[in-house]
């Protein structure tokens, strides 16, 4: 467009789309009752609400039941190999920065075989939204214990109970220096939508652990906490700017005291700020559920801003071009000490 022509209209705000527009024509093949359905539903709902154009979305995944996710989205999608989705997502976002990149992974895919790549994507702060489907089991391979399975879990490969200590995804992400960390629950649509919206709006890696029920191989593994009748008393929602209150009557609270989180009355609850310089508060909260009787924190553990890898990489290219001029083939080859042979 020539400089002298001023556009008369501003770009229209994306109109909310129909959720159905995000559904691909592929038949969804998860087991009936699998928690994955509600996650798919929430993501489609959220994207429709936010009005993100389908062609600007790219879903990347590894291997696992959860990693089938991209096939069910009517967007761009790459179903990659086991554990490596973070590496693909990193370069996709970097090479094609206009895309909004989402990553679907499981507890095995993301924290066992792919733990290393997850670590590095988180520390690099690539602008990617991560959905970690935690069902504390290997679903696709039919029920072996995973790195998030509780010690003692009996599975086909641990007939006497697993001797492994479990990794907590939240603490893992905190240790990696992730800039956005949250937890939500497959059966809690409202909460999931709120958390995913915050994740979608975060610039940098947004890491969301989702408690996901595998009806076949680990049914009910989160029931103690998420079952509707107990959920309000067994979870505390970390809402930025709000006090850490919980309970059906919102009468209880959590107070972060030095290196400990204690249950107190709502009036004494600590106001939650996930953007403090130190991640100590988030860390303390992430451990509290290990004490019997304490609620399990869900919601937003951490939300800070930091430079992203994808922007940094592209800025260097721009800087180099500004400094040295865009490279030309002739200058690439015909340079340095040359001599002629007649």
């Amino acid at each position: 467009m020539p400089d002298d022509i001023v556009p008369t209209t501003t770009a229209p705000k994306p109109a909310p789309l129909d959720k159905k527009a995000y559904k691909s024509d592929q038949e969804v093949r998860w087991c009936p009752g699998c928690g994955d359905y509600s996650i798919l539903n929430a993501v489609q709902q959220l994207l429709a609400t936010l009005g993100v154009p389908r062609h600007q979305l790219c879903f990347v995944s590894g291997i696992g039941c959860s990693s089938r996710f991209p096939y069910y989205m009517n967007t761009y999608g790459l179903h990659s190999i086991h554990g490596r989705a973070p590496a693909f997502a990193t370069s996709i976002k970097t090479a094609n920065p206009d895309l909004q990149v989402w990553l679907a992974t499981g507890d095995g895919d993301g924290l066992s075989i792919g733990g290393n790549h997850m670590l590095h994507m988180l520390r690099r702060n690539v602008d990617v939204k991560v959905l970690l489907f935690n069902n504390q089991i290997y679903g696709l391979t039919k029920g072996q214990y995973s790195p998030t399975s509780p010690p003692g879990l009996k599975t086909k490969t641990s007939p006497m109970g697993s001797v492994d200590r479990a990794v907590d995804p939240i603490r893992f992400a905190l240790g990696c220096g992730a800039t956005f960390i949250a937890r939500t629950i497959d059966t809690h649509q409202k909460h999931m939508l709120a958390v995913l919206e915050a994740a979608a709006k975060h610039k940098g890696t947004a890491f969301v652990e989702i408690f996901q029920n595998c009806v076949i191989f680990n049914d009910g593994c989160f029931d103690d906490v998420i079952e509707r009748s107990v959920r309000d008393d067994k979870t505390v929602d970390l809402v930025p700017g709000k006090p850490l209150v919980f309970g059906k009557q919102l009468d209880k609270g959590v107070k972060i005291d030095a290196a400990e989180a204690r249950v107190v009355t709502a009036a004494e609850a600590t106001p939650w700020d996930p953007s403090t310089r130190s991640a100590a508060g988030a860390f303390v909260l992430s451990e509290m559920a290990e004490q019997p009787g304490n609620p399990t924190p869900i919601g937003i553990f951490r939300s800070i801003s930091a430079p992203t890898f994808d922007e940094g990489m592209n800025k260097q290219v721009q800087t180099a071009i500004a400094k040295r001029g865009a490279g030309k083939l002739k200058d690439l080859l015909w340079t340095g000490d040359m001599w002629d042979v007649k």
């Binding site: 790459l78 590496a87 990193t90 970097t94 290393n116 690439l332 080859l333």
Partner: protein
């Protein structure tokens, strides 16, 4: 040009081989590359062979810590760094002990006597002093106390005694410059640029260089001086000296430009491939996105992701890294995206001989993945050929929407030779095209080359999913159908075989039929050519041929091979190409000539083998 007023007459000679050998910390690689740089600017043809230990600083003075750099420079067209040095420069007893057996009978050995005390001999595990025990009687020995001479030369310098000793290599270089009547200017200039921030270092090293040069005259160490004239027989053109890794890097950038794409390189450091990542990282003004990944798996996956996103994905590594990348490469084959994987081969298995050369990844490159996962493999023959091969790998990757493995090796990577610069207008573009039309879009539709359409995510209306699960022909939907699977397996293989239609049948050099055809691939090129020339000098005419495309094999080989009684295949492995050839071209009398010593073939080894075949 020469700066001295030496009285000694200059004798003209055609070609000289010098080997600089010293401790890993003695700066022999710099000395060698400076000699190379000067010879290149002078206009000699040349070939180099750096040979160094895997340790950065192996225990000082020991034999395993010896680092060497061999250069051959010539007035004629040469193809190898030479079988045996004419001159050996040995900075300590260990360097002498390791290298003396290679020196030509009657050759010259310059020995730094300043490093020949009892302790030095002990470190080299020598029980007697070679300078005194007559073991060097067959050679012309020039004894110079270089340790002392640099101290004298640098008297009054502000450098510490230790730093003064570090200038020894430039003193030695000066001495060699005098002997071969070389211009000091290029090295003086290089020093002032290299140490621009440390003027004392510039001055000291320049002084040492000049002192070494002048010592040639003053101390009357040598009986004569030599001149190797410019090489006027190379094809006309403009040249620059280039190392293999550098040529691969430039070729990748050029290849991407010719395709109209930007490069994304994801790599993980590994000897001897690291300089490719380092070089590409310095070309960001060409739009290069370079990522040092957390491991080779992430590196290849990031490269594939970038190709998916519309860049040209590239990853560079050596054998152990290629092993790690193979699952990822399989995905690139399944989702049919362009990708260039550079494997700079080194000695193995496992960590093996990281700084030594080998060609034993050929079968890993062609077959090293699960299931039927075919891809084209291109192999560089020489440092300058690496440029063309890298461009060729990019072309095949883009034209056929396939990963391509480009094989180089340690010998090519670190060796150097004059490179005739291609005219930019002679580089033929092969523009990539991205699908944007909505009508009749099928992600696994194919063109005449059997390549599928490439769609940049972000293109409105073409949203689709790809992945590693088997895909239905045309639609690309997940398919577990038995017949479809077999169809797709065949289709992917057929696409790779289709590459043959775009590659030439390699030329035979020498007699078009006869007793022996020497068939090479990769870095055996120079040795084979040298051997053929040597045999011709002795009146034995044999043919030679070299494969750039090692998979798929080019059309027309069977007809050619049928014209020879024996096809001799020298390889730095246990006969990997020969296995491929025997299965693809049964009925030909292939003779394998394996060598796996971490060292390139010597010309005389090949001539001896051919003579044996000829019954001579």
């Amino acid at each position: 040009m020469a700066q001295s007023t030496s009285e000694l007459p200059l004798q003209l000679i055609d070609s000289v081989v010098i080997r600089f050998a010293g401790d890993s910390g003695d700066g022999m690689q710099i000395t060698g590359s400076q000699f190379t740089h000067t010879a290149a600017l002078f206009g000699n043809d040349l070939a180099t062979f750096p040979d160094f230990p895997a340790e950065i600083r192996a225990p000082a003075g020991t034999q395993p810590g010896v680092s060497g750099f061999q250069i051959r420079f010539a007035a004629s067209d040469i193809h190898t760094p030479g079988d045996a040095p004419d001159v050996l420069v040995a900075m300590n007893p260990a360097a002498l002990a390791v290298n003396i057996k290679d020196l030509k009978p009657g050759g010259t050995v310059v020995v730094n006597t300043g490093q020949f005390g009892d302790a030095d001999l002990a470190k080299a595990k020598l029980t007697s002093n070679p300078l005194k025990d007559h073991s060097l009687d067959a050679y012309r020995v020039i004894e110079v106390d270089i340790n002392k001479r640099v101290i004298e030369a640098l008297q009054g310098s502000t450098l510490s005694p230790k730093e003064v000793q570090r200038c020894k290599n430039f003193y030695t270089l000066g001495l060699m410059y005098w002997l071969y009547n070389r211009d000091l200017e290029p090295t003086l200039k290089w020093l002032s640029e290299k140490f621009a921030k440390e003027p004392a270092m510039v001055e000291a090293n320049q002084k040492a260089l000049r002192a070494g040069y002048n010592a040639g005259d003053i101390h009357e160490l040598f009986q004569g001086r030599y001149e190797v004239p410019r090489c006027e027989v190379l094809p006309a053109g403009t040249y620059r000296n280039i190392m293999g890794n550098q040529a691969v890097s430039l070729g990748l950038i050029a290849g991407a430009e010719l395709a109209g794409l930007k490069i994304f390189i994801g790599s993980y450091p590994i000897t001897p491939a690291s300089p490719i990542l380092e070089t590409l990282a310095s070309y960001k003004h060409f739009g290069v996105l370079s990522m040092q990944a957390e491991d080779e798996i992430a590196a290849v996956c990031a490269a594939i992701g970038a190709s998916y996103a519309g860049h040209l994905g590239v990853t560079s590594t050596s054998g152990p890294g290629l092993a790690l990348k193979q699952e990822g490469i399989g995905l690139a084959i399944a989702i049919e995206l362009p990708l260039v994987i550079v494997d700079v081969q080194r000695g193995g298995p496992s960590t093996g001989l990281p700084t030594k050369t080998e060609q034993a990844d050929l079968l890993q490159a062609v077959f090293g993945r699960n299931s039927e996962a075919w891809l084209p493999v291109v192999a560089c023959a020489t440092p300058s050929d690496a440029f063309e091969c890298a461009v060729e790998a990019c072309r095949i990757a883009v034209q056929y929407m396939t990963p391509v493995i480009l094989l180089s090796d340690g010998y090519i990577a670190n060796g150097s030779e004059p490179w005739r610069l291609p005219k930019i207008e002679d580089l033929k573009p092969f523009p990539a095209s991205f699908r944007t039309e909505l009508e009749n879009f099928l992600p696994y539709d194919r063109n005449a080359d059997l390549a599928r359409p490439w769609v940049k995510p972000g293109t409105p209306g073409l949203e689709h999913r790809v992945g590693g699960l088997e895909k239905a022909h045309l639609t690309g939907h997940i398919s577990y159908d038995a017949e479809n699977h077999e169809f797709m397996v065949n289709m992917r293989a057929a696409k790779v075989m289709k590459v043959r239609d775009s590659i030439p049948t390699p030329q035979v050099h020498g007699p078009q039929k006869g007793k022996v055809l020497i068939l090479g691939w990769g870095s055996t090129y120079g040795s084979i050519w040298g051997a053929q020339e040597k045999l011709a000098e002795e009146g034995l005419e044999v043919a030679r041929m070299h494969l750039r495309h090692v998979w798929p094999l080019p059309h027309g080989l069977a007809e050619i091979f049928a014209r020879y009684e024996t096809v001799l295949v020298p390889e730095m492995n246990l006969g990997q190409l020969v296995r491929l050839l025997r299965s693809e071209l049964p009925g030909v009398n292939f003779q394998s000539y394996p060598k796996v010593q971490g060292q390139p073939f010597r010309v005389h080894e090949l001539t001896a083998k051919v003579k044996q075949l000829l019954g001579r």
